[in-house]
């Protein structure tokens, strides 16, 4: 099958969505002739014109509200944030309006919009351009939050997000944009709310998100050589969470670790751990749950510090080894 980068897969999904439905349009900062800060929209403006690939003023709150209003009035806007960090400027419209309008109006409207957030560290962009705020938004009923980890997934989940009648927040790790993978050419959908078992294993379940899926798979290969068989679940969706897949896996392996880039405390790992503690899988646990998340600090600039601030494969190997060998 032909290969695309993660960024190309997004662009293909956007193009196919615009081909299929004239109500779909893109908005964001420098997504036109510039092609987007991460070249995701690329030359789409030349193919679809400025009306459907709209450069907006640097007004994150305003753009988010425009997306809400356009969605209420029959359009399907796909809004690109230049960096996910700038969601903080648009929180009002995302959290108070997009997420709640349907509920507040008694189910009489829906808000079919998509917001795309380039997220994560590893680019040396320091504290205000490197955050992983996915768990913030996943805390809000009314939003759906997805975090695809592969080119094939991001295409299918983005198309599903654009189809969805409710607001969907798509977190894209910036280090994944150049990652290559097989991507089917035709449009297809990967359902929101379904986790994916990225690697089957017997000894320990790792629930990972976004780029941490790849780091966990790397760790799993290292551990395989030591006779430790790791199952890696790619959570893919933070809201709604696919609890059933995780419970099933933990009942099989009796051990669980959560690996995610967002700040560890009050992050997605806390929620998953609690769901296991509340479920029948709790009785199957042979070891405490392990959470490997981002440091309790802003993302630092210095490259070594930056690496130290989020989980890396060697740390995951060590954590899982200790977990399985009973050294926690």
């Amino acid at each position: 099958m032909r290969e695309l980068t993660y960024a190309q897969a997004i662009q293909e999904a956007l193009a196919q969505a615009m081909d299929a439905d004239p109500a779909v349009f893109l908005m964001g900062e420098d997504i036109g002739v510039y092609g987007g800060a991460f070249q995701v929209t690329g030359d789409l403006v030349h193919r679809y014109g400025e009306e459907r690939v709209m450069d907006a003023p640097i007004s994150e709150l305003g753009q988010a509200g425009v997306a809400v209003g356009a969605a209420l009035a029959g359009c399907k806007p796909v809004l690109e944030f230049q960096f996910s960090d700038f969601a903080t400027l648009a929180m009002e419209q995302i959290v108070n309006q997009a997420a709640k309008l349907r509920y507040m109006l008694g189910g009489k409207v829906n808000v079919p919009l998509v917001m795309r957030f380039p997220a994560g560290s590893g680019t040396g962009a320091a504290a205000q351009h490197s955050q992983s705020l996915d768990a913030w938004l996943a805390h809000v009923p009314g939003l759906k939050v997805v975090q695809p980890s592969t080119p094939a997934d991001v295409k299918g989940m983005l198309l599903a997000a654009i189809d969805d009648p409710d607001p969907v927040m798509v977190f894209e790790h910036k280090l994944l944009y150049k990652m290559k993978g097989e991507v089917p050419e035709e449009p297809y959908r990967i359902p929101i709310g379904k986790a994916h078992v990225a690697r089957k294993g017997r000894d320990v379940t790792v629930v990972a998100t976004s780029i941490m899926v790849h780091k966990s798979l790397e760790a799993a290969e290292t551990l395989a050589a030591e006779g430790i068989d790791v199952e890696v679940i790619d959570l893919r969706t933070l809201r709604p969470i696919d609890t059933a897949t995780i419970i099933g896996s933990v009942k099989k392996t009796s051990r669980m670790a959560c690996v995610y880039e967002g700040v560890k405390t009050l992050g997605i790992g806390a929620e998953i751990s609690a769901r296991i503690a509340e479920s029948e899988a709790f009785d199957y646990l042979d070891a405490p749950i392990l959470r490997l998340g981002g440091a309790e600090s802003p993302i630092p600039y210095n490259p070594e510090l930056e690496k130290a601030a989020v989980p890396q494969a060697p740390g995951i190997v060590e954590g899982l080894r200790n977990l399985v060998r009973g050294r926690l």
């Binding site: 305003g62 419209q93 509920y103 009314g142």
Partner: protein, 338 residues
């Protein structure tokens, strides 16, 4: 009505454009709003409804004047002080009362309450509990109108206080730069809660801010339905022509407190009385009668019929169905499985 004799015989365009029937309907809407809010206030005092509410008593001239020329397919976004906009755009007061009483029959099935009442079927995209929240949403609705090549408009209500929010400035800029069919209607009632505009803005008028975004800024007497409607009419025409947005500032006043908890410590009794004497409803009645467009008997009949409708609405709401607590998560998502 001692004002009767003061009306000049050569009637302004407002009185020529509309039929006597339409003008009397506008008066009836003003009464519906007034009595709706008085009824809601009383129901609150009697403990029949809870929460808080923001009354627009004194501002009916701008609510009805602004919405009079709108079509059903035009949109509005409204505010925390939105009962007048909702009725102006065509909502049924009895279903608004049902919402106030938290009933399934209410416009939002009891999930929204006073601060979110909206009849979506009449193009109301929602009242808003967030100061400035509706501004960018109206711009988005106008963007959709333009993309769909309709000649509708999005009317955006907001207060003087909201014009100090970043959302106001972002919204005006985007609407202007994309030439969108938005009519920004600022209801300047002199206060953002307790803070007077002189202490929150360094310019004299909210309309002065329009020039920074390259759009016309127009001031209307918010207590004169005729003055408001004429200013709005021009703004709507401009928007429908594709010439872009206008900011209309309606200078008005709320004679009640900001909300239920207001103790009126920031303004004088004299000021309130002064504005009560400029009540938009008797002002409009006097003009109607001076122009021979309504008789005193007709005006009385309009008032009585509005009162009867409001009383029946409260009864309807009291007898409504309470939502089932087991349905608390209903309508969070379109697909309930989510």
């Amino acid at each position: 009505m001692n004002a009767v004799g003061k009306i000049k015989p050569n009637a302004r365009p407002f009185y020529q454009k509309y039929s006597a029937g339409q003008l009397k309907e506008a008066l009836r809407k003003m009464y519906l709003i007034r009595r709706f809010e008085e009824g809601a206030e009383e129901a609150y005092m009697r403990g029949l409804i809870h929460g808080t509410m923001h009354l627009s008593i004194g501002q009916e001239g701008s609510a009805v004047g602004a919405t009079m020329a709108l079509r059903n397919s035009d949109y509005i976004t409204s505010t925390h002080r939105g009962h007048g906009h909702c009725i102006g755009k065509g909502a049924d007061p009895k279903l608004m009362f049902a919402e106030f009483f938290g009933k399934e029959e209410g416009y939002c099935r009891g999930r929204g309450g006073s601060m979110h009442i909206a009849d979506v079927a009449t193009g109301n995209l929602g009242a808003n509990g967030i100061v400035g929240g509706g501004l960018p949403i109206a711009v988005g609705a106008a963007l959709a109108i333009k993309k769909q090549k309709r000649d509708d408009v999005a009317m955006c209500f907001f207060g003087d206080g909201a014009s100090n929010e970043g959302a106001f400035h972002e919204a005006l800029n985007m609407a202007a730069v994309w030439k969108l069919p938005v009519v920004f209607v600022c209801e300047n009632n002199k206060y953002g809660m307790s803070v007077p505009t002189e202490r929150s803005m360094a310019v004299a008028n909210v309309a002065d801010r329009a020039s920074a975004y390259g759009m016309p800024g127009v001031i209307a007497d918010g207590n004169s339905i005729a003055d408001v409607e004429e200013a709005i009419d021009e703004a709507i025409a401009r928007a429908r022509r594709g010439d872009g947005p206008t900011l209309v500032e309606c200078k008005t006043y709320r004679t009640r407190g900001h909300s239920r908890s207001d103790r009126n410590r920031y303004r004088t009794r004299e000021e309130i009385e002064e504005w009560k004497a400029r009540d938009p409803i008797p002002h409009f009645e006097a003009e109607l009668m001076a122009h021979g467009l309504a008789t005193e008997a007709e005006v009385n009949a309009i008032r009585n019929s509005a009162e009867a409708e409001i009383a029946a609405g409260i009864e309807f709401a009291r007898l409504g169905t309470d939502p089932n607590p087991a349905e608390v998560t209903r309508d969070v998502y379109s697909n309930e499985a989510a």
